[in-house]
Symmetry: C2
DNA sequence: TATATCCTTTACGTAAACGTCAAGGCACCG
DNA sequence: CGGTGCCTTGACGTTTACGTAAAGGATATA
């Protein structure tokens, strides 16, 4: 179980100026840890959703990247597009969190929640419809035998 | 408002054997009537969701096609894939509706409704999360905003 | 006859979210 | 020294649901 970076060219680099001793994950660790593919992680980076630092060419994911990935996966899980997710992340994680940005975030968040409510209503509609159809089929099956034209 | 087919080569053809005087719509009528594009209608046909008859090369949509299209659009509206919709339509509209087919339809319908319920739960989760985030942002802003529940 | 509509088929383009090779670069293991 | 494993960057493939020409046929009307 090696979550820490197994010593690389990093030691000579820097990271000693500030006491911030960050745990750095490599892409494989991330993939396993979060149950996503390497391709997905690179794709998210390509789309500006993640921005791991580099040790040479190797990606190193920080705490912040992990937090972002959690949000990405939450978003995906509930059916947001990556673009939506990016929007929300960019808003939720405003590096310079001033009140203007927060206000924008709030606005977008509210817009998004309204979209979700619409979506929920649609799904509930669908459930209702399907439920009705299922009921109709059950009724048909109840009167098993007569093959009557299916009701309009 | 010309919903009836404006006399074509049909008169000489047939359609007089049975008293069934069907209203036939052309693709443009369908498109306007249902608010979809011609391309979509042809696409649905290509995918086996619709099967209008032909007067020469021109598509003519019957009552049954209109019923199917309604279902297609209902399905699309609530986020089903066309493949799902096709499954459901094929089930819901079993030309030879015997009890075996109905039973299959019932099973698939129930499976589908379970998927929908999962989807609804996911959306509700998302709403909850977003609601929490919005609350957090409001708090950050110190905005004496109403932390009122938007959800539910 | 000319024009305007409406119809047809063929077929490439698009956006999303990756999958799936391909080809190659370090680092450690025996 | 040759694997084995993990990493890299391309770059084309896939699915869904159509959009968007392109090029032409048929019909209704001026």
């Amino acid at each position: 179980m090696n979550t820490m970076l197994r010593s690389g060219a990093l030691d000579a680099a820097s990271e000693s100026v500030l006491g911030g001793q960050e745990e750095l994950f490599r892409i494989g660790d991330m993939a396993k840890g979060f149950g996503v593919t390497l391709r997905a992680l690179r794709f998210y980076e390509d789309k500006g959703l993640l921005s791991p630092v580099r040790e040479g060419t190797t990606r190193l994911y920080t705490h912040r990247d992990r937090a972002r990935l959690k949000l990405i996966l939450l978003g995906r899980k509930v059916g947001f597009s990556l673009r939506d997710v990016k929007q929300m992340i960019d808003l939720y994680d405003p590096t310079g969190s001033n009140s203007r940005q927060l206000r924008v975030a709030l606005e977008k968040g509210e817009k998004q929640i309204r979209r979700l409510q619409v979506q929920r209503a649609a799904v509930e509609d669908a459930i209702g419809e399907l439920d009705a159809l299922i009921g109709a089929i059950r009724a048909q099956l109840g009167t098993a035998g007569k093959t009557r034209e299916i009701a309009r």
